[in-house]
Symmetry: C2
Subunit: 388 residues, 2 copies
Amino acid sequence: MGVYPVRSPSGIVPEHDFALTGDDTPFHLEGGRTLANVNVRYETYGNLNDDRSNAILVLHAFSGDAHAAGLHHPDDPTAGWWDLMIGPGRALDTNRYFVISSNVLGSCSGTTGPSSTDPDTGQRYAMRFPFVTIGDMVRLQHQLVTHLGIERLFAVVGGSMGGMQALDWAVRYPHAMERVVLLATTAQLSAQAIAFNEVGRNAIMSDPLWENGDYYDGPVPARGLAVARMIGHITYLSSESMRMKFGRRLQRGDAFAFDANDQFAVESYLAYQGEKFVDRFDANSYIYLSRAMDYFDLSVRYPHLEGAFAATRAAFLIISYSSDWLFTTAQSKEIVYALARAGRDVSYTEIDSPYGHDAFLLEHEIQSELVARFLASPRVYRGQHNEI
Amino acid sequence: MGVYPVRSPSGIVPEHDFALTGDDTPFHLEGGRTLANVNVRYETYGNLNDDRSNAILVLHAFSGDAHAAGLHHPDDPTAGWWDLMIGPGRALDTNRYFVISSNVLGSCSGTTGPSSTDPDTGQRYAMRFPFVTIGDMVRLQHQLVTHLGIERLFAVVGGSMGGMQALDWAVRYPHAMERVVLLATTAQLSAQAIAFNEVGRNAIMSDPLWENGDYYDGPVPARGLAVARMIGHITYLSSESMRMKFGRRLQRGDAFAFDANDQFAVESYLAYQGEKFVDRFDANSYIYLSRAMDYFDLSVRYPHLEGAFAATRAAFLIISYSSDWLFTTAQSKEIVYALARAGRDVSYTEIDSPYGHDAFLLEHEIQSELVARFLASPRVYRGQHNEI
């Protein structure tokens, strides 16, 4: 405790682009379609060592981007989304590790997605973009890692949708990493989470400005996207954290006016979150990425989840958060049990936190200690010995 | 168990209207405004006894109406919303009790609400309707009960928003009932529940067909109202019941097409619930009734919830449901503890159920036994003795 205080952003970082060319293009998708001219936006922090053995791939969540740490410009108001975890002396210590973060396929922050231009037509893809999967995101990340000259990652690390990607990495490329860190994630999206995603998509698609996705030459479906984000935010917090943060406090005054001006603090917060999101996220990407999560079910090709892990070689650290009701402790334990039954090296803990699903972005002190010690601890890399 | 099997609807019941006239009108609201020409739609089941001591007032939830039991016409496809609990031999036994059920103020099923015509203008109220409270609903119900010649109810019974009304009854008219039954309810709406209500309202008000509430001469804001209802339905179920009922099953086929035709069973269910709701509920009533719930905080005028119960005289039965995450067991226990500290007669149980908040509409077998035994048990009516 107290070993990992909040510090200033870890430095100024540039953005990079990796464009698939030659044998890598077109990029074949699990759904059967292909994509030409795929671009991947990524950032790196720290330095790759001489034997290229210190690379850690960080995998972002639903609304994240490649900008995981540091600043792009000295006057940026905020640092990358996981700056508390990435930097010199932090859990993903850039004095020791070379950290890679890339924007996922289908998103809207530099990597090809529905808001990109289709080279065949010169028009935005919009809803003509193919539906993508967590596996497609991972296969594209694998091409980036190969492009960077790395055969085996030291670790893949991801929370929420990033954890889904980390799970897919471990199963799809079992020899490509030594360690896997899974935070607040699940091996398959629950019916309730699919339901929340569907309501968000409905809110977007019910906005007349959505225009079947072809809104790029006019106003965006801001109200629908804001409603979708408001729903999302409720699921990222817990009832307890909302009680602590807002309770029944009014935004203005201390008594109801019993008119349309009454506003609870929690309403003002959600409205602000909804508006802010519209400025940085593409409504069609919301549809595609939420669908990719819906599709995710690691066990679907196996009789049991244990079967999915039979080929894995990495050591796993799994963390869940007590008040996370979107991706619950029970869902993390399913992964832990399946890995244990498959005879894999797995460490697990639940962090006691009131912050709900967002805890993996907030509980940096205890999380930093757990992740740093897991990464520093000696582990037997099972892939060298051809063990099962 | 098995004593209260599902039976056919308890009979054909007529609808009644009670129009406030004379000294009762205009009806003064807690927010300071008044309403002229208020109408109350109600139904009754069973017969009032000679000393008028066997009346039970049933209070409906957010989207309910006066039609709690029986059929209006022999060919009705479904019976009233609580037919499993009301009828000859059922928990609210119409061979013993005279059951009254009325549509709440602000709703859209016969009682005055935003879709009613403002007698001053000849136009629909729409958003010119005054904001109403749970207390306003209760004060109107009290006028109905008085109109029916009943000075003291045998019991008031309500679940969810109906439970809020029952709580308000017990505090506002402490001598007006012997018993109170509270199911799946709370003494104050949580920040999370306010947040869900606000997102639903936003979905409605973002629909361009809403037209600031003045949609009555044209198409209704169906898509916005459907999205609001979808959100509501997720909160009425539990993650466990959604897993049991839908899991990750697809609506059509057994493999993803990876196109816009993919649909999970849970998505189809929500879409159906959303569409069905639009046919029977008014979007403006959604706004007003959800706001009335947001406003509800029984303890707001007291230092502690216990203080609110100091004046009550009734005996209480409180039931919560283990998987209800909208109005939780913890919230019911707050009421139980406050009643116990105030020295009141209170019985409490949690029913172990996977059905979430909807359990109070579904767990009729065990619920019937608990409610029937509570109503039949001897209790000391404290109001006679001027205690505390």
